[in-house]
Structure formats: structure tokens, C-alpha cells
Subunit: 127 residues, 3 copies
């Protein structure tokens, strides 16, 4: 089930390997023990147009949304969110060292009653 | 009002006509009888970076969010969601036949109090 | 904190400067007095595939989501939403004059308990 969706300033893609960042975030999710591997879908996409804060040309952002199924405790969500945030801070340490970077993360729950899914990866990874 | 937003693995775009898939989803929405044609906005955009499950190179996903106005009954939402899911399963039957594909759909309601809209298509389609 | 996320029909990007539209939306947000400059992250990204209403080739849409921290009053949110909608209507007046355009905006709150952020721009703009 879990979806991790990363939006980022297009210019950042020239300096950071975003596919690698997706893999890092997946690893963090796996290490929480809350998310079966077969359900993890991390993805990132650049924003070609933006206006960030005072529009300094160095300004950039990364905004992450984790969408998960209902049912985890508040403590579990806090643990997952903190772990992901620490992973992201490490990945963007170079950016955070300069006064031009904004990083954010939110966890949103997916309604059990109004969601549908089918996943042909699950049976393979259970083998 | 209704928005259908499709995120998909970029690699999938080489094998599936995503514009056509948008048209298929629109047809399903129209057939539910719940959504006036002039308000339907289906769109799809690729994710250039991702880490899906065990990162098998064949892994791919399609994730769909339907955003609709408040006011429909639970039964109506279940009917619309099931119909869209069936449409998507048919469109991606070739992918679901292999153990590398994850498909998901969620319905989210748009707050009546905190949304605004103007649509110059409506008057034309009422003629 | 505030995130303004704009999805638009790819074809619209040929006729409208979307980076400039991001700047216009940021100005409107600043003028509400509700949002500190350092936190403003406006961005826009095109939808390469879509099916809008009756699929008239001129059909296009702009869909805007404002994500803000919890805590503002309903009146504040109504004021911010109305101001942004007016700004967007002005920016797309040419499109709204023809029967092929749909514009929408929603305000969504970010959960205080399940969001995390770090922003190295804030200290610089406080100087």
C-alpha cells in the first residue's frame, strides 16, 4: 500500500540523483518494519515552474507525502515520519547547509472504505 | 468537478497509450451517471524516478486518485470506485499477468467550504 | 509551510508563462498577510496526457491545491482562497473568455501531528 511521493525543484535534479534518493527512502521505509516490501511505491517528479520564497535563484525545495493505509498507531506514524525525515535530511545535508532549501514531509492516510488495489508483485515476493 | 489524477511509472508510457487510458477512465466516469461531462478532468503524468518494491527492472505502478465534490452517498462512491478499478484492470491486464505491477485507486472528497471553481465548458455542453 | 501546487494541461504551457503565474500566486499569498515569505512554495507542472470534458481539442484546465498548516480560521481560509481564485481568474481571463477552460482551487490542511519540516531559508529572510 504505501506510496511515497516526492516533488522537487527541477534545478535540484542536476545536483542530486533523485532515483537514488527514492531508493534511500524505500530502505528507510523497509527498516521501520511497518511496510511489506511488495507494496512500497516511492517516486519523485520535478516541478518545472516554481516561485520559492523570495525567488533567490538558489532556492529549492523537496516536499514528500507518505500515503499509507489506515490502522497504524500514532506512535508508529511518528516513528515512520521521523525516520524518513532523518533520511531526507542526510540526503540533502549539502542543500540544508545553505540558506536556500526547504524540506517537508507529511503522512496522509488512505481511506479503507474508498480505496481499491491489486498488486501482482505481492505473490512473487512471498515466495 | 471531478478530477481523476493518474501517476504512473515512466517506463510504462512506452508500452501503454496513456492518453487513451485517460479517455477510457473518462468513459467509465460518464457511464456511472454521477458526473456531468463538462466537469470531468482526467489526466496522467509519468514519474521519472522511482523505487518500486524490490526494484526489479520490470516493476511498474499506476496510482489513481479520484477527487469529487462532497455529497455522494457511500454506495455511489463504491460504485464509481469499483467501475474505475475494473476499467483500469482491463486496461492493464497485460501488466497484471506478470508479477511486476501494482495498481491502486482512492476516492477523496473535495471540501465544499474551501474550494472554488469556474468552468467555461459547462454552458457550451448544456447547449 | 504553505504549498501551492498547480496542475495544468500541457498545451496551456505554450500560451501562458507558468513560471510567471507561480510568481503571481506567490504575490497573492504574500498580500493575504497569512503566510511568511520564507515558507511559500508555489510550483506548477504540466499534464502530458488528459481527457477533459468532451475532448474538444481546445479544452484545457488548471487545478490548484493550497496546502497550509492547521490553525487558520475559516474566515482566513475563505479570504486566502478567494484572493487566489481572483488572481487565477485574471491570469486566465483569455482562456475563460472561451468555452474550453476549467479552473479550480482547493485548500487542504496539513496535519500538525504528522508533518515534519526544516527550512534553511527562514533564518536568511529574518535578517
Amino acid at each position: 500500500m504505501p506510496h511515497l511521493i516526492i516533488q522537487y525543484s527541477e534545478s535540484l535534479g542536476e545536483r542530486v540523483n533523485m532515483t537514488e534518493f527514492c531508493a534511500v527512502m524505500s530502505k528507510v521505509m523497509q527498516q521501520t518494519g511497518q511496510f511489506p516490501l511488495a507494496g512500497i511505491r516511492v517516486r519523485a517528479h520535478p516541478m518545472p515552474h516554481s516561485s520559492i520564497a523570495d525567488e533567490h535563484p538558489e532556492n529549492a525545495f523537496v516536499d514528500i507525502i507518505l500515503r499509507i493505509g489506515e490502522g497504524r498507531s500514532d506512535a508508529q506514524k511518528a516513528t515512520a515520519g521521523s525516520a524518513l525525515m532523518e533520511g531526507a535530511k542526510s540526503a540533502f545535508a549539502a542543500q540544508l547547509a545553505h540558506p536556500h532549501f526547504a524540506l517537508s514531509l507529511e503522512i496522509i492516510e488512505i481511506s479503507k472504505s474508498f480505496s481499491w488495489k491489486t498488486n501482482s508483485i505481492h505473490p512473487r515476493l512471498k515466495n
